[in-house]
């Protein structure tokens, strides 16, 4: 059964949001969805780079009212 995880990294500065995402990623499994909320201005390029390096799937990435929301589908766990 796939699960949905919420990572609230609002207010955290680099590299905090990615670290928080990675901590959740380690407990997640393929098919799970991780939703990350962040306010760090570097988060958009950072999460894109992380997706590229790890090979997971980015379903959504947008900024609204100063909050960046990334929705990631876990597909690359071995």
């Amino acid at each position: 059964m796939s699960e949905k995880h919420l990572v609230d990294a609002r207010g955290m500065s680099c590299p905090g949001p990615i670290t928080k995402l990675v901590k959740t990623y380690r407990t997640a499994k393929n098919g799970d969805i991780i939703e990350v909320l962040a306010t760090d201005p570097g988060f958009i390029p950072d999460v894109k780079a992380w997706i590229e390096k790890t090979g997971n799937e980015l379903l959504e990435l947008k900024e609204e009212a100063g909050v960046i929301r990334a929705v990631i589908k876990i597909t690359a766990k071995k």
Binding site: C14, I18, Y25, T54, K78
Partner: protein, 141 residues
């Protein structure tokens, strides 16, 4: 292995400077590498070594950086940013990070393993570090 193995074989950081502002990139780069599943090997030497002991001196910023210190400290407090030490320690807990103290500097300063902070893995020589960081990208701070 939880993350897919990526191309970069590792990051070697030679931490030479003991100036307070230089510990932030050390911590941030290390934790970022861990997040990207990149192993990190840190060689602590020069004036940085005293900050890796149990009896750390007061942080000292460089002269040209002094004007920026109040704004920097204020900003870090506002962001509730953890200290460089906390970021580095967390990186060690999360990934493949080894911190080595330079044996020459340790000898010169009269430091033994028991004087060093718990985040230091070992006291090693330069040859060991070069072998460990073979094929890694090297950053000198």
């Amino acid at each position: 292995m939880l993350l897919r193995v990526i191309e970069m074989s590792g990051l070697a950081i030679i931490m030479f400077s003991g100036q307070a502002e230089n510990f932030i990139p050390l911590a941030v780069l290390t934790q970022t590498a861990v997040n990207m599943n990149i192993p990190v090997r840190i060689f602590v030497t020069g004036t940085a070594l005293p900050y890796f002991t149990k009896n750390k001196p007061e942080p000292r910023f460089s002269k040209e950086f002094e004007d920026m210190v109040p704004a920097l400290m204020g900003g870090m407090k506002k962001l509730q940013m953890p200290s460089w030490y906390e970021i580095l320690k967390e990186a060690k807990e999360l990934g493949d990070v080894k911190i080595y103290a330079c044996s020459l500097m340790a000898e010169v300063m009269g430091l033994k393993k028991e004087h060093l902070d718990e985040i230091v893995d070992d006291i090693v020589g330069a040859a060991f570090f070069m072998k460990e960081s073979e094929n890694m990208k090297v950053i000198f701070i």
